[in-house]
């Protein structure tokens, strides 16, 4: 197969290009539309002309206005802060839990793990209403706590950590124990150094989850200065619908930021998920 002529591969490449285009085209259009003046956006879409997808000049005005006039910067910072905090806290809490499930023996281990995993079958939408009441009880409505704390414990992430840690050979831990090491030393010196892939993939998962989160922030926060990025975007639609170029600019910013983190780290992401192996 390595000696196949380029020509034989062509239909294959076309297939890939087609699929790739399917994914990229809408986002490309969003990009070009954000860089042109408002009136031009729909001028070339119908009837369709290639001008819709290619620009003769770049107009960055929209990118400026969303930050200076629409306060979009606040939303970006909010999302970044909330995501960062959740990743930090989430890695510790879920990582520890995964570690315990993988390495310790204790009564009720199976049951607790089962319950944990089952819990991730309950997506946010289902419990958003009663969860609101719980948060209200704590007095956390309209605060960063409401945005961060409910997202910390995550069944999928615990599952990932547990699977990953199970793969690490027991002998390493046993040997260390023979030398009198406590669990803390074992975690720190043995498991942690090997955990880079799973930490990255778990971190990315948590980050994505918070960054893209819409319904929960919508419900639990009110103030303008607590708006996260997805809620701010949906708000664009209500108030500033005419400013399509700004809407596109904002959504491009919201999309590109996670990509800047994801794409370079994709190798680790895959590794982490692979190594989790799913081997029960």
């Amino acid at each position: 197969m390595k000696n196949a002529i380029w020509g034989v591969r062509l239909p294959l490449h076309l297939l890939y290009i087609f699929v790739g285009l399917l994914f990229v085209l809408p986002l490309w259009w969003s990009l070009t539309s954000s860089l042109r003046p408002l009136e031009e956006i729909f001028k070339y879409t119908s009837p369709f002309s290639l001008k819709a997808l290619f620009l003769d000049r770049l107009d960055f005005a929209a990118y400026f206005t969303i930050f200076t006039e629409r306060g979009f910067g606040v939303a970006v910072l909010n999302s970044a802060f909330v995501a960062a905090m959740t990743v930090l806290g989430g890695l510790i809490i879920n990582g520890l839990a995964g570690f315990v499930f993988a390495v310790f023996q204790f009564p009720g281990r199976q049951f607790l793990f089962f319950v944990t995993v089952l819990s991730f079958l309950v997506p946010f939408e289902a419990i958003s209403i009663p969860l609101y009441n719980v948060i209200k009880l704590f007095g956390w409505i309209d605060s960063y706590y409401a945005l961060i704390v409910p997202g910390l414990a995550n069944g999928v992430v615990i599952f990932l950590f547990r699977q990953f840690f199970s793969q690490i050979p027991r002998e390493l831990a046993e040997a260390a124990r023979m030398d009198g090491a406590g669990w803390l030393r074992i975690l720190w010196n043995i498991y942690l150094p090997l955990s880079k892939p799973v930490i990255i993939s778990a971190g990315l998962l948590i980050f994505l989850f918070q960054w893209e989160s819409f319904l929960w922030p919508l419900i639990c926060t009110r103030s303008e200065n607590l708006k996260v990025i997805q809620v701010a975007l949906a708000g664009f639609q209500q108030r500033y619908t005419t400013q399509w170029n700004e809407l596109f600019a904002a959504s491009n910013v919201a999309t590109v930021i996670p990509l800047f983190i994801l794409l370079p780290l994709q190798r680790f992401y895959i590794q982490g998920v692979t190594a989790a192996g799913f081997k029960g």
Binding site: S46, P47, Y132, R222, Q237, Q238, R239, T241
Partner: protein
């Protein structure tokens, strides 16, 4: 003290500032939300019996609903019946009553106009209806004359719209007609009202025979035809987008709220304000009603809250601040008299207020009083959206009436 308010934070802030200036010992914290979010927030917080909220903005048709569910504290102790009748116009204070109690005071009211794009009419060579334009000044009496005698009918609107719609190769560049809040109850109620048909029965809890009455069927058919038969109005345009079509010169005739006057003036459209149309065989009817303010049942500061209501809704000072900031038709009788007399309001576009005054007093029909208003409004909107998208009106109305009665049944227990 907290006030949960609506979409115009800057204006409310002005009113709050004025109140605080007069009452230095009371501080008001303002929570504002976009339209859709406000209702949801009120629901959530009131259900949770939030003690932190003292005042809430009550969209007038929700007075019954909020009262039934115990969200509001009655205002009877603060306003006598006599006071009420003397301070506000009838349609407004009536809408704030429930079960004989005064539950929420009117901040302002609203009215509807027909907006004409003069340039498009000129280009098409059509004579626009008589109305208020930038090249003349008027008195109240003149305005009343126009509203009483020269009002266009919906039939006339359609005729003009057909000639004004420009379609080429399946693409429409200019639409003859558009509504402001497409498919919403507040906007379309005037259609049925013009034919003398109500949406629900007198007990506020019966839909069958009212929602799908022959009068409403006719109105619904007319509405659907706008999009599907005559094709003079665009589908798939949301209420948020609709006004910008007019200000962008893409719509020739626009029927919508008075608040669009300022917006269109700013956009530089050459427009005219005419009275809202009616059905030839019926009588003129216009939408009305706007925001009220009520005291939250669980408020710990009811007396102070009442003071604010007194200021904002019933005092000359407060109501004027609000009127000047917000620009919507006042509910206070005293303020109307002031406006009619003030020469500032004889020139365009402020003379629109005179027209608003006329409509509020002669053609305004308030929205149905029912504790299930939220369900009614929601089902109305999806029904008329369906009709807009081509569903048979009779089918749609019958289905909706059935659904509504299921909801209403709950309240009949």
């Amino acid at each position: 003290m907290t006030l949960s308010d609506n979409t115009w934070p800057a204006n409310v802030k002005k009113a709050v500032a004025a109140f605080e200036a007069q009452n230095p010992d009371i501080k008001i914290q303002l929570d504002t939300y976009p339209f859709r979010d406000l209702f949801e927030t009120i629901e959530v917080r009131m259900k949770a019996q939030d003690k932190d909220v003292d005042l809430i903005s009550v969209d007038v048709p929700l007075v019954a609903s909020y009262s039934v569910r115990g969200y509001l504290a009655p205002l009877d102790a603060y306003f006598s019946r006599d006071q009420i009748e003397k301070t506000w116009i009838k349609a407004s204070w009536q809408a704030g009553m429930y079960n004989g109690h005064f539950m929420a005071a009117p901040q302002n009211t609203s009215t509807q106009f027909m907006f004409i794009n003069r340039k498009l009419f000129r280009d098409a060579g059509i004579e626009p209806p008589k109305g208020l334009t930038g090249d003349q000044t008027v008195t109240y009496d003149q305005v009343a004359q126009i509203a009483a005698n020269d009002r266009w009918t919906w039939e006339q609107v359609v005729d003009a719209a057909k000639k004004l719609t420009k379609t080429e190769n399946g693409r429409t560049d200019v639409w003859g007609f558009a509504f402001d809040q497409v498919s919403r109850l507040y906007q379309l109620q005037c259609l049925g009202d013009s034919l003398g048909a109500t949406l629900v029965g007198p007990d506020g809890l019966t839909a069958q025979g009212y929602f799908n009455s022959p009068g409403w069927l006719k109105a619904a058919q007319w509405y659907g035809d706008l999009f599907n038969k005559w094709k003079v109005s665009p589908k798939n345009v949301t209420p948020d987008e609709s006004p910008s079509l007019f200000s962008g010169g893409k719509v020739a005739i626009f029927v919508g709220g008075e608040w669009n006057v300022g917006r269109f003036k700013e956009a530089g459209v050459d427009f005219e304000v005419a009275p809202i149309p009616y059905f030839k065989e019926g009588k003129p009817a216009s939408g009305t009603g706007s925001w009220h303010v009520g005291i939250s049942k669980n408020s710990q500061h009811q007396a102070e809250a009442a003071k604010f209501i007194q200021f904002l809704c019933a005092s000359d000072a407060g109501a004027t601040v609000w009127f000047e900031a917000q620009g919507q038709s006042p509910a206070m009788i005293a303020l109307w008299s002031k406006i009619s007399a003030d020469p500032k309001f004889h020139a365009f576009p402020d003379d629109a207020y005179l027209l608003g005054d006329y409509e509020a007093q002669h053609t305004a029909v308030p929205r149905p009083l029912t504790p299930a208003y939220l369900q009614l409004e929601d089902i109305f909107a999806s029904t008329y959206e369906d009709i807009r998208n081509g569903v048979d009106p009779k089918e749609a109305l019958d289905g909706a009436a059935q659904r509504l009665d299921v909801f209403f049944a709950q309240f009949k227990r």
